[in-house]
């Protein structure tokens, strides 16, 4: 049984609702639409099968010939997907995966990420080809055509034309600057991030409303939106479940369906929280449909598609602004630098491998929400403490690659809880979308070592090693972090709170 076989036309972006279905905002009087109610009930048209005329929207994905069975569930045949930020770490990887699955992929990018990393004096340590070469190689190696336009998503006129031309049935929004430290450098950087991310997303929502309102919007959020509440209260999937109740002065109120509290940890995370509210409202006002993807920290370099040719590789950043923790640890191990843990290293975060993240995205594309539905998934495979990750990287580096790896604790430049409980609910992808993590942490770390130890990659890594160290302080300082201690792997206990990940209703 496929996870999405019982979904119907209501979940299908090819079902043309506009003009056929009236809708209204919550609480609004329906007096105005009384005269539009048809005696025949509600009928729609299919943009892919106009010859069917008007019909009742109750055909299931299993019954519909436009939805074809794949290993990820039923997928809309030749689905037109636009990726905003297609040149990035995730954007390019997903473009290849979707194109290989038969989707018609289009995408925009203004190379902001390449510029921002260069600004830091760094570069992707895995050599990445320019877009022209990437597209040509994708055609040669995978036989796929990906349509690309160099474009800033803030240029709404250009993007509007492109949306009209491509008529996407899904829009994956990766077009944001993904860095907490970058947003904490100074006012210019904080404003740049919030301008690009928040206003960019708001503009995109207006454009989708006007040009492709039926599209399934996959909006990249981050687990960092929630923060790490010291009460240890559960981190639900964006919205409170039905059995969450607020009690106060002896009375109770249902919290079911309300947005859960957010506690962002940088001005970057604030931009993501603002996005969440904008997407939530857009779904309500205009009947857009969206998954807000609260993604854990991604690590790794591998998917079958990017590994096929060096010119198809996706970027890998290790600098303090854009290098995520596992990617930085592996690069430090290769360089012979003790792995840098901020503060106690007891910080708990959610993680998933690049390959698994891509699978999650395909599954989300295969199961669009209903029109008007705003849904949230916590997208992660496992929780780890930073200290624990350093131990695992050190173990793989020494046992499989003969490296001598040490660990160092440095001052924490961030304003964050070093030690905190973390109870995370991540049920939807597993329970309703059929996802099971496939890439063990050690396996992906091993792949990273193998790639980074190649002479060309190692040379690139050497040339950017200064950029790996944190110098951006949340208090506004710009200075090196002092080393608190250097220690041998295996000599420190993992202390404090135990991470807790809830994957099914049984525990909830």
């Amino acid at each position: 049984m496929q996870h999405n076989e019982e979904k119907t036309c209501w979940n299908c972006p090819a079902a043309m609702l506009k003009g056929n279905v009236d809708f209204r905002a919550c609480g609004q009087s329906i007096e105005t639409i009384k005269n539009k109610i048809s005696e025949d009930g509600l009928l729609i048209e299919c943009s892919r099968k106009p010859e069917l005329g008007m019909f009742e929207p109750n055909i299931t994905f299993e019954q519909c010939p436009e939805w074809i069975e794949t290993e990820y569930g039923y997928l809309l045949k030749d689905m037109r997907v636009m990726i905003l930020g297609i040149d990035g770490y995730l954007g390019w990887t997903l473009a290849l995966k979707l194109a290989k699955l038969g989707c018609k992929v289009s995408g925009i990018d203004n190379y902001l990420r390449r510029e921002a990393v260069a600004e830091k004096g760094s570069k992707s340590v895995v050599r990445i080809a320019d877009m022209e070469t990437r597209l040509r190689t994708a055609k040669k190696e995978h036989g796929v055509d990906i349509d690309f336009r160099e474009m800033d998503l803030l240029n709404r006129d250009q993007l509007a034309e492109y949306l009209d031309e491509t008529q996407p049935e899904a829009v994956v929004h990766y077009g944001e600057i993904p860095s907490a430290p970058y947003s904490m450098v100074d006012a210019d950087h904080a404003i740049k991030i919030q301008h690009n991310n928040t206003l960019g997303t708001l503009g995109v929502l207006f454009l989708i409303k006007e040009h492709c309102p039926e599209a399934n919007i996959l909006k990249l959020g981050t687990m960092g939106e929630y923060g790490t509440p010291l009460t240890g209260r559960p981190i639900f999937e964006g919205l409170f479940p039905a059995d969450a109740v607020l009690t106060w002065r002896g009375q109770e109120w249902s919290m079911g369906g309300e947005l859960t509290p957010r506690d962002p940890a940088s001005f970057y995370h604030v931009s993501k929280v603002q996005d969440t509210f904008n997407v939530y409202e857009a779904c309500k006002y205009w009947w857009l449909r969206s998954y807000d993807v609260m993604q854990g920290v991604i690590f790794g370099v591998h998917t079958n598609e990017v590994a096929k040719h060096p010119d198809l590789r996706t970027r890998l950043d290790v600098d303090e602004w854009f290098g995520t923790v596992i990617n930085r640890f592996v690069s430090q191990a290769v360089l012979g630098i003790p792995l840098t843990i901020y503060g106690s290293g007891e910080q708990i975060r959610g993680y998933l491998a690049l390959e698994d993240a891509m699978e999650c995205m395909v599954r989300l594309l295969s199961s669009p929400p209903e029109p008007g539905q705003y849904d949230v998934v916590n997208q992660l495979s496992q929780l780890y403490k930073v200290k624990e990750l350093a131990e695992i990287v050190a173990k793989v580096g020494s046992e499989k690659h003969g490296l001598t790896v040490k660990i160092q604790r440095v001052e924490n430049p961030r304003v964050e809880a070093d030690e905190h409980p973390f109870l995370v609910i991540a049920k939807k992808l597993r329970e309703t979308l059929g996802y099971q993590p496939k890439t063990p942490l050690e396996v992906e770390i091993d792949r990273m070592f193998t790639l980074l130890l190649q002479p060309e990659t190692r040379e690139r890594l050497e040339s950017v090693k200064e950029a790996v160290f944190a110098q951006t302080w949340w208090n506004g300082d710009h200075k090196e972090t002092m080393t608190l201690e250097v220690y041998e792997p295996g000599t420190r206990k993992i202390e404090g709170y135990d991470p807790s990940l809830v994957l099914s209703d049984k525990v909830d």
Binding site: D22, F23, I30, I37, P241, A242, G257, C283, G372
Partner: protein, 102 residues
């Protein structure tokens, strides 16, 4: 059970047992989450039925009963509307509403 304009009479007004109807819409997050509670209550089989109806897709019924906010709960007994209440409820509150009005 999800019902529509077409079978509302048969399932609600002509029902031999009282019916709790929840009016919902796709753009209403509390409506989505509350489905789990309604399924649980429905499974209890305590002499009433639980039905859900989408307001946007069944505007005739939504308009007839003047739905102005969601989720909207209505209780029908022998074809008559005996209770109307708007807003998300906890399981305890739904059960209390049912025992009070039935």
């Amino acid at each position: 059970m999800e019902i529509s304009d077409r079978n509302f009479n048969e399932n609600v007004l002509e029902s031999g047992t009282p019916v709790l109807v929840e009016f919902w819409a796709s753009w209403c997050p509390p409506c989505h989450t509350i489905k789990k509670i309604l399924k649980k209550i429905e499974a209890d089989e305590t002499g009433y039925k639980v039905m859900t109806i989408n307001t946007d897709r069944n505007m005739k019924t939504a308009s007839k009963y003047n739905v102005k906010g969601l989720p909207c709960f209505m209780i029908f007994k022998e074809g008559e509307l005996v209770h109307y209440e708007v807003g998300a409820k906890s399981e305890k509150q739904i059960r209390e509403m049912l025992s009070e009005k039935l």
